[in-house]
Subunit: 348 residues, 2 copies
DNA sequence: TTGTAGGCGTTATCAA
DNA sequence: TTGATAACGCCTACAA
């Protein structure tokens, strides 16, 4: 039933001998309609292959039942490359929004765009989910504006006290702690950390904070020379590990701020004639699908993408409905594989 | 500017002292409006933070400027697991549709749904892109109906003569040929093939057909005992390779119908004490992101996801606009890595 | 070059 | 429980 003569609710009203609003109500299972009328209307609707026109409905009701997912890639790498961790998130967000009866509009975010204008103001979506942000300070600035405008949105990112807007994120401090703690328990005392510590990525800073706490708890000093900047990508990890190896600073293990960094680091170490885990132990962060297939398989900190997707979707919807919603910190957990030199699988 | 008092084109008309249609025209840069008027209108629109309400526009114009991407997962595996190859496709489709000025609605397809009713009839989207189909015969049946209804859609899948609808797909026969040819040139004569040959997955059949052609061209017999059924997943590959190893049929190499199958196969071989590529050479199909990070890195057939995304999007749009569109076969190419035992990198 | 009138297909409001 | 009427915000004639 496409094109020319699509049935409208008026057609149905005509055939069913009722008023048009009655049709609307019957199809929406509103209790304001008698069972008999409802059945008659529903039958005719089915026969005619009738579908509510969402544009008309949205126009009238000023609601779209649609969420927008804006993905921002920090890396300028390959045009086609998407952070695999985000891809996992995307899957769970898609499922969660379907579960809640929302359609999902997806788009790659341009930092230059006026997000709210593009989506909420244009009535394309009732709310926005942000996945990835350029650098935190300027993102916060933009968000504050959105917030004042009364926009409905959530961000996957660092959960920090008193930040504007709504954030869902992993407990990065805990993750960093678990990674370092694991290595320390394997008798490593010279553990490098690969990850940016500028204000741009608070999540990386938290991971390092956890690393420091683990050291403190075990009575170990933190050597600042063991920390090397690296952003998300494999290439950054490669460079950072190379730099570390060249620096002459002694180390026996590396805690990486992302799995991609770990992948790059392993590659760099290999080129320096260092084997993982024999010569150096490695722990990653994220648990991307590739992690378990790497050689050696990557010990890493797993983020709960399933819970994340659920929380993100439920939070925007809450916000849309004007219900109270607060930022959520999701637990992280250690997944032990081969790269850290541990043979023991931690269960669960 | 959210909620209560969003400006409408009428407001602007009022402020600018013109009629409402003039506002529409000015904002659309229609030549029917004087430069002065246009500027005045545009300024006011900007000041008020005005945005066209897409629902109103769509309702009026009966067009949504939106594409629906329906993803179907064949595997019943982990709820959260999505075929990594599809994820790559998703990325390129998202980019392509943005480039063409279309929004993208994404959803996981339920085989039970009435796709067209859900999207096109409801005026949520102008057209549909299908990624993945359950089994081919029943899919074709459904598609035929869609086609008769005059729906606008494309499918990523096998390009077969005289099939209804519009298909974009890789040259699977060529891919299968390249894989087998590569192995034969490495002096393998006993090459197994892991991949389903039922009517459900014509793509796998084509890959096997290419395998057979390569054998024929090199004057080799095809031993049917070397072919073992396997669907997409790692688990299937694992089982198939296990079965193969247990069968006692002699082989020195395996051509797998997907990279996931190859991953499972390598795992199985390893458990049988067989090393790749020392004992058995392996070639995959897809070139998923993980492929290059596997141990050993996976020689595989690359599908051009970038071109695929472009072609899919352009084809639906063509179809929507009533322009002629035909199915497209995209070239595949061999990517030589370690698992096939070749050290030589083929360039380009 | 600008304005007027009407309708796209719903849902909300109110009265019956 | 149902029905009449009026929006929702825009766009396309057509008239001025």
């Amino acid at each position: 039933m496409k094109g020319k003569n699509k049935p409208t609710s008026v057609d149905i009203a005509h055939l069913a001998g009722v008023s048009q609003p009655t049709v609307s109500r019957a199809l929406r299972d509103s209790p304001l309609v008698s069972l008999e009328t409802r059945k008659r209307v529903q039958r005719i609707a089915r026969e005619l292959n009738y579908k509510v026109d969402v544009n008309a409905r949205n126009l009238r009701s000023q609601r779209t039942n649609t969420l927008a997912l804006l993905l921002f890639e920090d890396s300028d790498e390959h045009e086609a490359f998407i952070n695999p961790f985000f891809l996992s998130m995307l899957g769970s967000i898609t499922r969660a929004s379907a579960q809640h009866g929302y359609d999902l509009l997806i788009s790659f975010q341009q930092l230059s765009d006026d997000w709210n204008a593009e989506y909420e103001d244009a009535n394309k979506a009732d709310g926005i989910i942000f996945l990835g942000y350029g650098d935190y300070p300027s993102y916060i600035e933009r968000i504050s504006k959105l917030d004042q405008e009364g926009a409905h949105f959530v961000t996957w990112g660092p959960v920090i006290k008193d930040q504007p807007g709504l954030f869902i994120g992993s407990d990065n401090e805990l993750g960093g702690y678990l990674a370092a703690d694991h290595l320390i328990r394997m008798n490593h005392t010279r553990i490098a950390f690969l990850g940016d510590q500028s204000n741009d990525y608070p999540e990386f800073r938290d991971r390092y904070a956890g690393y420091c706490r683990a050291h403190a708890e075990h009575g170990l000093e933190v050597d600042p020379r063991l920390r090397v900047n690296a952003f998300f990508s494999e290439e950054c990890g490669y460079k950072a590990a190379h730099q570390l190896a060249m620096s002459g600073v002694e180390f026996t293990a590396i805690s990486c701020a992302s799995d991609l960094i770990a992948i790059g680091a392993i590659k760099a170490l290999r080129e320096h004639g260092l084997r993982v885990p024999r010569d150096k132990a490695i722990v990653g962060f994220d648990d991307i699908p590739t992690a378990e297939h790497l050689a050696p398989s990557l010990t890493t900190i797993q983020q709960d993408t399933f819970a994340a997707g659920q929380a993100l979707v439920e939070s925007v919807i809450r916000s849309i409905n004007g219900e109270p919603a607060k930022s959520i910190l999701l637990p992280t957990r250690l997944v032990v594989r081969d790269s850290s030199g541990a043979k023991v699988q931690i269960k669960q």
